[in-house]
C-alpha cells in the first residue's frame, strides 16, 4: 500500500486541475451581489457553569468565525477559538483527583489567552472539482453521535461543548462525476494526536482518506479507504492503521436510517494486510441509527447503536488508562443511545437522552431543556446522571495507579450561548 495508492490518487487530482481551469477563467454572473452577508465576522460566546456534589467549574468559550468570498469560485473561512476553563472543567482536573497526584501549582486557565486557529481554509471551485486547503474540518460519516470513519482528529465525548468538528491541517480534493457520484481524497499533514514526534512528515506517516460517494435511489452511500496515524507515547513512535469504511443514509418507510462502519484491516509483521488470527467482530467499529417523527405529538425519537470491536465485554477488563488518553474514551463493545426531543411553547425544546452500556448495563441520563431566549441567545439547563452497578463503566469508581478515580459524576449545568 503506502505510496502506491497515495501517489496515483494525488496525480489524478493534479491532472484534473488544468482541465478545470478554463471554467475558472470563464466565470459566471457574480451572485455575490445578492449574497453580501456571505462575508464578514460572526461567532459566539458560550458560558457553561457545571456543578457537582463537591465542586464546580466553568467554561467561557469564544469562537470567532470569518467568511470571505473574493469571487464566485473562491471562498475563505476561519474559526478562532479560546476556552477559559476553571474548577472541575479545567483540563488537568481528572488527573488531580487521583490520590498521590502532584498537588503542584496549576496555572489558572483564565489568566491565559490561548486564541487558537481551529479552522482556516480556502476553497477553490474548479468546474466539477473542489479543492479545500488549510486547517479543514473533515466531517466524514453519517453517524449522529459516533463517527467511526472520522479518523483525523481526537474524539471528545459527553463534555463536548460545541458540535464543531476540529480542523485538521491538510488538503481535501473532491470531484463530482455527476449529480449522483463523487470522489473525495484528503491528505492530512498532522497525526490524530497532534503530536510532532520524530519522523513526522515522512510519506508513510501521512494520514489520508479516499472516498467514493453514490446517491442510489433514496439512499446516499459511500465507500472509503482510510489511513489513520497517531503518536503512541509508550512506543515513542507513530502507529498507522488502515480502515475500510462505508456509510449510508436514507429512509425506510417513515423512518430515517443511517449507518457508518470502519473495518480495521490489520497488517502482519511484514507490513502486509493479513486477517489471520483476527476475529472480524474485534476489527469492526460501526454505528446504525435512525429517527422517527411522531407527527401528532411533534416528538422526535432518535436512536443509535454503536459497536466498537476493540472494546471489552467484562468489567474486569476495563482499562481506565485508555479512558484518560485520547485514544479510546469508551471501554465496552456495545452501546445504545436513545433520545426523545420535543419542542413546546414555541421557544423551548426538551431533550431526554440516555447512553447505555449494553455490556455492563450502566447508563447515563442526559435530560436537557433548551430555551431560545432571543434570535441569537440560547439558554440550556441540563444534567448528567450516571447510573449503574458498582464498578460499572458509567457509575464506577476506577482504580488508577493505586488511586481511586470517579470519571463521571452527577452534575447539573447551565449554559448560555450568545451568537453575534
Amino acid at each position: 500500500m503506502k505510496k502506491c495508492l497515495l501517489a496515483p490518487a494525488l496525480c489524478f487530482f493534479l491532472l484534473m486541475c488544468p482541465a478545470a481551469s478554463p471554467v475558472l477563467a470563464q466565470g459566471t454572473i457574480d451572485l455575490t451581489k445578492l449574497n453580501m452577508n456571505e462575508e464578514g465576522l460572526y461567532g459566539y460566546l458560550l458560558y457553561n457553569l457545571n456543578l457537582t456534589r463537591k465542586d464546580l467549574g466553568s467554561i467561557l468559550s469564544f469562537r470567532l468565525k470569518g467568511d470571505w468570498r473574493p469571487g464566485p469560485h473562491l471562498f475563505f473561512h476561519m474559526e478562532l477559538v479560546n476556552d477559559y476553563r476553571t474548577g472541575n472543567q479545567r483540563p488537568a482536573y481528572l488527573s488531580t483527583l487521583l490520590s498521590g497526584a502532584t498537588k503542584g501549582t496549576y496555572t489558572n486557565a483564565s489568566d491565559q489567552l490561548n486564541l487558537k486557529i481551529d479552522h482556516l481554509w480556502g476553497l477553490v471551485n474548479l468546474g466539477r472539482m473542489d479543492i479545500q486547503f488549510g486547517k479543514i474540518p473533515l466531517g466524514w460519516g453519517t453517524g449522529y453521535v459516533f463517527n467511526p470513519t472520522a479518523k483525523t482528529h481526537p474524539v471528545s465525548f459527553l463534555e463536548d461543548l460545541s458540535a464543531e468538528t476540529p480542523g485538521t491541517l491538510g488538503l481535501l480534493f473532491s470531484y463530482a462525476l455527476n449529480d449522483r457520484t463523487a470522489f473525495q481524497v484528503y491528505l492530512a499533514f498532522e497525526d490524530k494526536t497532534r503530536i510532532l514526534g520524530p519522523g513526522a512528515g515522512e510519506w508513510n506517516q501521512i494520514p489520508f482518506g479516499l472516498k467514493v460517494q453514490k446517491i442510489w435511489g433514496a439512499f446516499d452511500l459511500s465507500l472509503s479507504w482510510i489511513r489513520e496515524v497517531f503518536y503512541r507515547q509508550e512506543i515513542q513512535n507513530y502507529q498507522r492503521e488502515y480502515y475500510l469504511g462505508g456509510d449510508f443514509a436514507g429512509a425506510v418507510g417513515d423512518f430515517g436510517v443511517y449507518g457508518e462502519t470502519a473495518l480495521h484491516v490489520p497488517r502482519n509483521e511484514e507490513g502486509k494486510f493479513d486477517f489471520s488470527g483476527h476475529r472480524t467482530n474485534d476489527l469492526l467499529e460501526y454505528c446504525v441509527g435512525g429517527d422517527y417523527l411522531f407527527t401528532d405529538a411533534e416528538l422526535t425519537l432518535r436512536w443509535e447503536y454503536y459497536h466498537q470491536g476493540r472494546g471489552v465485554t467484562k468489567k474486569a477488563d476495563y482499562n481506565p488508562v485508555k479512558a484518560l488518553s485520547a485514544g479510546q474514551l469508551l471501554q465496552a463493545e456495545d452501546y445504545l443511545l436513545v433520545a426523545l426531543e420535543k419542542s413546546f411553547l414555541d421557544y423551548y425544546t426538551l431533550m431526554f437522552g440516555s447512553l447505555i452500556n449494553a455490556n455492563d448495563g450502566s447508563f447515563v441520563l442526559l435530560p436537557e431543556l433548551n430555551y431560545n431566549a432571543a434570535d441569537n441567545l440560547e439558554v440550556v439547563l441540563g444534567s448528567l446522571v450516571p447510573c449503574g452497578e458498582k464498578g460499572s463503566e458509567f457509575n464506577g469508581t476506577w482504580d488508577v495507579n493505586g488511586g481511586e478515580l470517579e470519571i463521571l459524576q452527577p452534575s447539573v449545568y447551565v449554559q448560555a450561548k450568545l451568537s453575534f
Partner: protein, 250 residues
Amino acid sequence: MKKKWLFLVGLALGVGVLMGGLVLATGEEAVAILRRVEEKQATDTSVTRMGMFIYPDAGAEDCRSYEVVGYAKGDQDEYISFLEPRSIKGLTLLAKGDDQWIYFPSTGRVRKIASKAKDQSIQGVGGDFSYEDISAGKWEEKYDFIIAEATDRYWVLAGTPKKESAYAKVNLVIDKEKLILVKVEYYKENEGHFKDLIMEEIKTLDGREIATRMRMMNYAKNSKTVIVIYDAKYNVEIDDKYFNPTRFYR
C-alpha cells in the same frame, strides 16, 4: 319490481360513468390551468433574497426573523442558505425533486431528510413551513387535481396526493386574470383545514410579476410565518455545484 331495480342500477351506472367522465374532464382542465400558471411563472433559474418572520402567536407582533438566499433551477432543484440570524448562519438546504439534504456548518456534515421528517419544520429554525412545503417539483407531479370551484375571478383546484404526503388534500386558489396562485389551503386527515399559504403584494421584480409576500397561517398552532422577497433575479447563470448533493455546501 324487478324492472324498477334494473332501472335504478342502470341510472346509478349511468350517473357513475357520467360523473367519472366529468371528473376526468375537470382533472384534465385542472392540470391545463396549472400548466398555464406554471408556464407563466417558469424560469430557467432564479436567485432570490428573502426575509422569513416566524410569529409563534399569529395575533401578536413578537417574531423571530431570518434572512435567506435561495437559488432555483427549473422546477426540480432548489437551494436555500440562511444568512441570519448568526446562530444558524450557513445552514443550507438542497431539494432535488422529492430528495432533500441539510448541511450543518458546525459539524461540517450533511444529513439526508427522511420522508416522515418532511412534515417537520426546518431543524434549528422552526416556523410553519415544513420540509415538504419547500420541496421542489411541480404540483401536478405531487397531486391529482380537479376543478372544485370556478368563480368570475378565481379557480379553486382540489388536489389529493399521488404519493406519500403529510397532507390529505390541498386546494389551490388561482387568479384567473393574472394566472397567479394566490392561496394554498392545506388539509390533514385528522386536523382538517390545517394551514393556508396566502400570496400577497404582487409586484414586478426583474420583469416578472410575483407575490412578494407569502403568509403561512397555521390554524392548529395559531401561528404564522411570513416570507418577504426583497430582491430576485431571473435566468441568471448559477453554478451547478449549488444543486449537486455531493457539493452544494462547498
